[in-house]
């Protein structure tokens, strides 16, 4: 069977890639997508650990579902903000969002 370390490594790799995306991309939409990737990486961990404790153990999966719900909430609000911002400033680039108030 697969050692749990492999899942951890996969999760870690996705997390790093997501983190790099968050730091380097200017397009806020892509930044948001990178955050989704990070959340997704966490899900892999949770499910793998859940599985580690046996076939009928689903607590970790429930956590993962909560994270999906959270991701949905984040995406909705985040994209709402992006649309509101785009309407006013006609940009979605992070470094052009340089005012606290407009």
């Amino acid at each position: 069977m697969m050692p749990v370390g492999h899942y951890l490594f996969l999760s870690f790799a996705l997390f790093i890639i997501g983190a790099i995306g968050v730091v380097t991309r200017r397009n806020v939409i892509v930044v948001l997508m990178s955050i989704e990737l990070i959340l997704n990486a966490v899900n892999i961990n949770l499910v793998a650990f859940s599985r580690m404790f046996g076939d009928v153990h689903v607590h970790g999966q429930v956590f993962a579902l909560f994270i999906i719900a959270d991701a949905a909430a984040e995406a909705a609000v985040g994209l709402g903000i992006i649309i509101a911002f785009f309407r006013n400033r006609e940009t979605v680039l992070a470094d052009e969002m340089d005012l606290l108030k407009w």
Partner: protein
């Protein structure tokens, strides 16, 4: 055997498309690669016998959230000049972040190796012997985690209202 082939296949697809996602210049391409990653992750959930989560990932993540992303990308229709796509000096920050995180995690891996039994997954029973995953899931979700479930639904409600307020046309 089959299990590990499936795992490595999906893991490879996930990592590859995740890497492509952060490097593509076009936001739609990024979204497509993120979808691929999410689908590959769903495959890994299936390989872990988390069937309900597999379909939840597809319906909610891919069919819901990503549609929203693609929709917004198409709505804002921006044509960013290609050389403007990343911060110039940010590459070094990124490298630093990656290296720092890698160090941290390698320490973690080191400790994992020290653990007895090395965290092996228990071998799965044949699929038809397993209790249905969705029923298990529901029992735990609506039993042990009823309160968090309600809180999550309130969170979603708040997010929904927030998104509507944010995106509404100001008149």
């Amino acid at each position: 055997m089959l299990d590990s082939i499936i795992f490595y296949f999906f893991a490879g697809v996930a990592i590859l498309s995740a890497a492509l996602m952060v490097t593509r210049r076009n936001a739609i391409h990024s979204a497509v690669f993120l979808i691929t990653t999410l689908l590959a992750t769903a495959g890994i959930f299936l390989q872990l016998r988390a069937e309900f989560l597999f379909i939840a990932q597809i319906i909610l993540y891919v069919g819901g959230i990503m549609v929203l992303f693609v929709f917004v990308i198409m709505l804002v229709r921006l044509d960013v000049p290609l050389h403007h796509i990343t911060f110039r000096f940010q590459k070094w920050v990124a490298l630093f972040v990656a290296v720092a995180l890698a160090c941290e995690v390698s320490v973690m891996f080191w400790y994992v190796r020290q653990l007895p039994s090395a965290g092996l997954l228990t071998p799965p029973a044949p699929a038809d012997k397993l209790p249905p995953n969705s029923e298990q899931f529901a029992k735990v979700l609506f039993g042990d985690y009823l309160l968090p479930f309600e809180i999550a639904s309130i969170l979603l409600l708040v997010a929904m209202i927030g998104a509507v307020v944010m995106a509404k046309k100001r008149t």
